[in-house]
Structure formats: structure tokens, C-alpha cells
Symmetry: C2
Subunit: 303 residues, 2 copies
């Protein structure tokens, strides 16, 4: 395939679950994000929008903030009395920060919802999602590795990445790092370009490394800078790995894991409110010096 | 009781389900709300916050926009590392615009959730709400007419108002105007003051009129100006009454029904994006000339 049109990717939300600021958090970053003079702007929860023609869009993960995200991004706003440029929605897992926005996408609007069987069952098992009128919203189950088209001309595949079940389905200590339908990454191909979206990942396995090698862009899990960050900041008792997220830094972190894969642009997304890389003059500089970018709401990548 | 402290009520969200603008709506009001020069400011979905001391707050209905609402209202922001001034949440029905925000109020924060049995069962029947850790979030069932205290010193009662089941539980044509646990209003008493919150109401019955008589403030269902407004604006096929909402204007409308009840302040909330009263120089003037006020995000009432 030749390049026939721009592949446009907008980071609708660069933050992890809870957003920045998080409703009940007074940590340094959250306090800064509430202060308009701090230089740290508020960030919404995890989502990407992708288009080939600027008219039709697919949204990866329906964040609880999607109403605000649409308000912040003109290309996603209706152009007629009742209309949405959002033709399809793709879910990469069943976490609240990726799922709750489906409740916003009601009001008799047609679109197609793509997910694995496991994530689709979460939607099916919760009657509240019946606000999405089945006559208008078709739910498509996508097998791992199966090619599908969220937009005409865009080839997508879901692939399993090490993760865990959503928090609200945990029953005791969950299996960590299992690969299955509960946590997936997305591969996008159009006009010879190859892009990956992996907002949650517990470890970069050899097969994942092989897949990401030589990609044009990888949007990757930047939840925590260090594995014990939530414990150190006093905001939680779990390590990143316990939450299904590998750290950026340290042994087995994503800085090292992605460094040698010849990826043109490596962009962190799904960044937790505790993560120091939100702040200028912090560990952020080390990350940038390694050739990684830090996503932010409204960031647009064209290729 | 004597007046010992201010009763503060903040309109967190004055709009009905979908908000203003609604994600997929290009109607006149929604287009204006997307244009910062139009004079019509965006409005979030239906919620009130109430406090007696300015420190502890109870929130009536958890709107999908609650994260943004907290960001817009400093009294609701955390004052410590992990903290929320929101001590309790009260639900008046199980519609998405009143329920979805519960998914935002996660992250290991303790509060008490009050609702009728019917609305509580909706929460219980949807596993996604298990993100509210049962060890931290206690769910209390309140009987119709039973006194309870969402805040120390604040006496509350739920009362049935004519309505219907939530849209996502409709199975064929719903019973309209039934009174039960699915749609309730709230009566608040503190220091001799008496306030009502009725965001959804299909008809003002004689018993409801008797209840509201001589109140200090009534926040009332302002969904539609006229019963056929959605049909006339081409945005829907249902009348207001079919949606469980009586119109403001016309025979049996709330302007006439509330006019003669000697209520000190009558404030419309839960206003749909199609409602002309959002605009200056519209039917709004007639509503204001009748002595009614039109709620807006951030409106504060002290008494």
C-alpha cells in the first residue's frame, strides 16, 4: 500500500484511571493540576482517536471523560442536527477508565463497538449498557489476531498482552501477567504505516518486542515511573506490576524494553496522576533524553 | 430549630441527561454552547451539592460529569493527600445521568450511598459498580418517607413522585406516571428551612403540591419547555411526558402547577439541551417574568 492520506491520531486523554487531577487526590501533581498558574494542565482519562480522512473517526477506549474530550476536540463534534463523526469504538480492556464512557455515547446514535469476547461479556453482563440501543449500536466480537476495519482503509488487529482482569472483577489475588482476552494491544496499519496502542502492559515479552520492532509509532503504558511509586507517594499500597502495569524506569521497565526496537516515535500514555513525568524538570527529562515522548490531551500525531 | 449555620446548595450540573452540548447534537443550543462567543456557556449533567458547614458535602445524583464538576467547584476538592469533602451521595433515580458518576467516585474513598431499594438494586445488579469497594462505600436503603441524615444536622426524606423506570430498563411501553421507588424527590430540612429537589416529575399531584407549598426553595424538573419540544426540534420522537418529565409550559405544565404554592424560590434544573430557556431573549423571559429562576452550573443558593 502507498500512503494515500494522512493517518491522524489524537490523544483524547493521556492520563490513567482517575485522571489528573483525580477526584480524591491531593498529591503534588493533582494540586498543581488544580492551579492554573502551575504550568501543569489537567489531563483526562485514557483514550485515542484515529482518522484517515479527518471526517470519520474511531475511538480507542471510551473514557469516563469522553463528553469533555469531544468538547475539547472539534473534529469529533457533530456536523448535523444529530450526528457524530465517531463511527466505531474499540475497547482494549474492561477497566472503568476504558469502559465508562460508553454510558455517555447514548442518545440514539449508531456506531459499532469492537472488543474481545471477554471484554464484550463485561459489557453484556451490566444492564446499564443497554442504554446503547442494540438496534443502533452493534457489538462485534474480535478474535485475537483477526484483522478488522474500524474505519475504511484502516486495518486493525488486537493482540494479547500480559495483564490482569479489571479491578472490579478481581476475586482475591488475581493472576498477574496472564495473556488472554482481558488486556489487549492494538496494531493499526494504513498506507504502509504501522502504529501500536498498548495502554496497559505488565511486561514486554519477546513476542511483544518482536511485534513492536521498527514500528512508526508506539503509544505505550506510562502508568507509573517506578514500580513502588504509589507506595512511596502514600497514595496506594500496590506496586505497578500488581495493577498490571510495568514501570517506565528500573529493571524490566519500558524505557529499557522499548529502547532497542528501532521504533520511530515512542509516546507514553495512560500516565497516572502520581507519575513525576507530568512535571517539567523532573524524571521527565531523563525520559525525553532517552528519546521517548510524553503524551498530553490534544496531542496530535500525523503520519 | 433555629438557624445555626448557612444551608449552602450548589448546582453542580443544571442540564438534563446528555448535558449541553450533548455529544451527538448539533441543535441551536448545542451549537451555541460550543461557541465561546455565543454567551451560552456549556452546562453539565444533573446534580446538586449541599452543605451546612462548607466542609462536609452531600451530593444529590452522581452525574457522568462529576469529575469535571469537582474540578469546577473548589469546596468539593480534597484538602489532604487522599480525601474528599463528599461524605454521602443520594440518588433520586437510576437514570444514567444520575448514576454513571458513581464509576468516577472510586479510588479507595469512603462515603455512604443512599437510595431507595429499587435504585439500589440497579446498582447491585451491575457488577461495574463493584469498583466502589464495599469495605469503604456503604450502601444504605432508604424507605420512602423515612427520615435520614446525609449530613450531620441535615434531615432528609425521599418521597415518591410520578415517573417511570430508567430508559435502559424499559421493556416495551413503560407505565407512565407511576409513583414508587424508581423516581423520588428529596425533602431537606435544616434550621427551620425547607428545600425540595425534584429533578424528574411527570405530573404535580395534589399531594406533591401540598408538600411543596410554602417551601423556601424548590429545584424542579425543567427538562422541556413544551411537551412536544423534541419532536418539533427534530431531535427525538418522544414527548416529555413519555420520558417521565412534565413540560414547563402549557396545560398541566410546571409554571402553572407551582405558581400558586407560595414557594419562595422556584429554580429549574435538569434542563434538556433542546430547551429554549437556555437562551436569552427566548421563552426564558416569560419563565423569569413568572418568578421562576433558571439554574446554571455553579449557581449557589444560601439560606
Amino acid at each position: 500500500m502507498n500512503k494515500t492520506s494522512d493517518l491522524r491520531i489524537i490523544v483524547l486523554g493521556a492520563a490513567a484511571g482517575g485522571g489528573l487531577p483525580q477526584w480524591n487526590c491531593g498529591c503534588r501533581n493533582c494540586a498543581m493540576a488544580r492551579d492554573p498558574t502551575s504550568g501543569l494542565r489537567p489531563q483526562t482519562q485514557s483514550s485515542l482517536a484515529v482518522s484517515l480522512d479527518g471526517e470519520s473517526w474511531t475511538v480507542f477506549n471510551a473514557s469516563p471523560d469522553i463528553r469533555q474530550q469531544i468538547q475539547n476536540n472539534r473534529p469529533l463534534q457533530p456536523r448535523r442536527l444529530r450526528h457524530s463523526p465517531i463511527e466505531t469504538v474499540v475497547l482494549t480492556n474492561g477497566d472503568i477508565d476504558h469502559l465508562a464512557g460508553l454510558l455517555v455515547l447514548r442518545e440514539k446514535q449508531a456506531f459499532t463497538l469492537f472488543s474481545t469476547g471477554a471484554v464484550g461479556r463485561i459489557v453484556a453482563d451490566n444492564p446499564v449498557f443497554q442504554v446503547l440501543d442494540p438496534e443502533l449500536v452493534s457489538r462485534e466480537t474480535i478474535e485475537i489476531g483477526e484483522a478488522f476495519s474500524p474505519l475504511s482503509g484502516l486495518e486493525a488487529r488486537l493482540f494479547a498482552v500480559p495483564g490482569k482482569v479489571p479491578l472490579f472483577l478481581e476475586d482475591g489475588e488475581p493472576d498477574l501477567g496472564i495473556e488472554g482476552e482481558h488486556t489487549v494491544g492494538v496494531e493499526l496499519k494504513a498506507g504502509g504505516r504501522r502504529v501500536y496502542y498498548v495502554p496497559g502492559c505488565a511486561v514486554v515479552t519477546d513476542s511483544l518486542a518482536a511485534r513492536l520492532r521498527d514500528a512508526d509509532v508506539v503509544f505505550f503504558d506510562g502508568t507509573l515511573f517506578s514500580d513502588d511509586e504509589m507506595i512511596l507517594t502514600g497514595t496506594g499500597r500496590k506496586t505497578g506490576r500488581r495493577m498490571g502495569h510495568m514501570p517506565i524506569d528500573g529493571e524490566g521497565g519500558s524505557l529499557d524494553a522499548l529502547d532497542l526496537l528501532n521504533i520511530r516515535r515512542k509516546i507514553y500514555v495512560h500516565i497516572n496522576n502520581t507519575n513525576p513525568i507530568w512535571r517539567a524538570g523532573s524524571e521527565r527529562e531523563r525520559v525525553e533524553a532517552r528519546g521517548f515522548e510524553i503524551g498530553y490531551d490534544g496531542m496530535e500525531v500525523r503520519l
